[in-house]
């Protein structure tokens, strides 16, 4: 319409009479309509497992003999920009840790934590690691502080698992809360 002075645009006229642009749009949307949905069916049947670089909930590692790697040097709590990590060391020669010095208390306040990973970098024995657990929501404040005992348990996704895939999952309701249990044997690439 704006460049009408250049003379009649025959092709444009024919195109608008035949609604070609409209039909093109319809074809595109029909294509999407019959295409497979990219929706991740979380939490019902699927779950996203992040890459290894993901910084989720803390985990405390052990060595091959089952001894704690943490030597309670308190570097992590010093490095922490939000002071959310509390470490109280103690002497213990029973072989619980790799050294005589182990943590009596090692707790992290996840509400204050900003998952920067400084504790991970500061740790001289690679004891603390940010894992791939990301379902941290809960019903009350009691679960926001994670203690050493809980953090020492291995997380559901092992370090050896590559990640970056969608795996099968099961939605579990228990009186204690809800969780999505991943089944690492079935995995597929993300659609988009």
């Amino acid at each position: 319409m704006e460049d009408g002075k250049k003379g009649l645009d025959i092709f444009g006229l024919i195109k608008s009479v035949l609604f070609t642009d409209f039909v093109k749009g319809l074809v595109i949307t029909l294509g999407y309509n019959v295409s497979r949905s990219i929706t991740l069916r979380y939490p019902d049947t699927e779950k996203w497992i992040p890459y290894r670089r993901w910084r989720g909930m803390h985990t405390l590692n052990k060595d091959a003999n089952g001894r704690e790697l943490c030597v309670a040097c308190e570097l992590c709590s010093r490095a922490c920009p939000t002071q959310c990590i509390t470490v109280i060391p103690m002497e213990d020669a029973t072989g619980r840790g790799i050294a005589d010095r182990v943590a009596k208390v090692w707790k992290v306040d996840l509400v204050r934590c900003l998952f920067c990973g400084f504790c991970e970098d500061a740790c001289p024995t690679t004891a603390v690691r940010l894992g791939r657990e990301y379902e941290l929501a809960c019903h009350d404040l009691s679960c926001t502080v994670k203690e050493r005992e809980g953090l020492l348990k291995p997380q559901p996704v092992p370090e050896s698992f590559e990640g970056g895939v969608v795996v099968g999952a099961r939605f579990v309701r228990t009186p204690g809360g809800i969780s999505v249990v991943a089944d690492l044997s079935k995995s597929r690439k993300r659609a988009l």
Binding site: L26, T29, Y32, N33, S35, T39, R41
Partner: protein, 342 residues
């Protein structure tokens, strides 16, 4: 003195009206589900999923929610008009079905009795549908005015201006169909398109497709669907004429809108696509009602498909399309149709 036949006929008619009304009342429920599902899939999502398998029970959840919602009447609203406006919108949408045939006759397999698939064989059917269908707009105008809210009033005004502009073009399209089929009676219009698909009004070249385009565009504008839903433009008017409505009264407006969409789908099929006639003579072993339903379903899908394909027009564009394109085009088309029929 009423005879037995008359009484039987009245009973049959009452039953038919009751059944049809129930069907139309229930129809928006699957349609809302379908619309959301189609919206989801076109946007590569899933749509309703959690209530029942594939979210099929979602409309029931919605209905329960709407029933239990508080029916809010704004303090400064015109109370009476505010309360009856949704009914004014809904009643014509249902009343239109008095003249809409869903088929010729249907033989019930076991008893062998023939049932007419229409309520009345009105000889001014096409005109009646246009006249009554146009009344729905009062619900929207009065609802918008009675809400005593800027957005609702603007929505109502847009609705009335849009309706006046496009009613003319739609009426011209219906006049074109009446000229081609030589009757105002919908049954006659369908009968005149019998045989194969070549005798459908849509394929009465060159004017048939033009009439269809005018009818379709005008109807979409009249039933306030995207791309012409300027009267409930949520971007600028929050939600237009039903901004202040909640609960059941809001759902009456929605009901009217969905029933109007079904009506327009049925009319497109009757006027342009041969109604319940099979497209090929050798396919006529499939019952006519199946053909009819199939075609109507296609159009319902088409309207939803268009909704998620096109963006909304601007209001001046809407008026321009109505007055500067559709009406002159339909006047010229009436002339051509007349010349072709001589």
């Amino acid at each position: 003195m009423p005879t037995l036949d008359l009484i039987l006929e009245v009973i049959l008619l009452t039953v038919k009206v009751a059944v049809l009304t129930q069907i139309i009342f229930a129809l928006p429920m699957p349609l809302t589900w379908l619309e959301r599902k189609i919206a989801g899939h076109i946007q590569v999502r899933l749509g309703p999923w959690r209530v029942g398998p594939h979210g099929i029970l979602q409309p029931f959840a919605d209905a329960i929610k709407l029933l239990f919602k508080e029916d809010i009447v704004p303090d400064k609203a015109d109370k009476i008009l505010f309360k009856i406006a949704p009914l004014i919108a809904m009643v014509p949408a249902f009343a239109v079905f008095a003249a809409i045939p869903l088929g010729d006759t249907f033989k019930i397999p076991v008893i062998g009795a023939e049932v007419k698939l229409y309520l009345s064989d009105m000889n001014v059917g096409a005109l009646y549908i246009l006249a009554i269908g146009g009344l729905s707009v009062y619900g929207m105008i009065l609802g918008g005015w009675a809400s005593n809210s800027k957005y609702a009033l603007l929505g109502g005004l847009r609705c009335s201006a849009q309706m006046i502009s496009y009613e003319i073009a739609v009426s011209f399209a219906v006049i074109g169909v009446v000229m081609l089929s030589n009757s105002l009676n919908l049954l006659e219009i369908v009968k005149s398109q019998g045989g194969s698909f070549l005798s459908w009004n849509f394929l009465y070249l060159p004017v048939g497709p033009v009439w269809f385009a005018i009818f379709l565009i005008g109807s979409v504008a009249e039933i306030n669907r995207i791309p012409f839903d300027l009267s409930e433009d949520e971007g600028t008017l929050s939600s237009g004429y039903h901004t202040e409505y909640s609960g059941m009264r809001f759902s009456f407006f929605m009901l009217a809108e969905y029933v109007a969409m079904v009506t327009v789908s049925i009319l497109s099929v009757i006027f342009f696509f041969g109604g319940w006639n099979a497209p090929f003579a050798f396919l006529s072993f499939i019952p006519p009602i199946a053909w009819f339903m199939g075609k109507v379903c296609f159009f319902i899908y088409f309207f939803m498909w268009v909704r998620f394909t096109l963006p909304r027009y601007r209001y001046d564009q809407l008026m321009k399309i109505g007055w500067k394109i559709l009406i002159p085009l339909s006047l010229v088309n009436i002339l051509i149709t007349g010349l072709m029929l001589i």
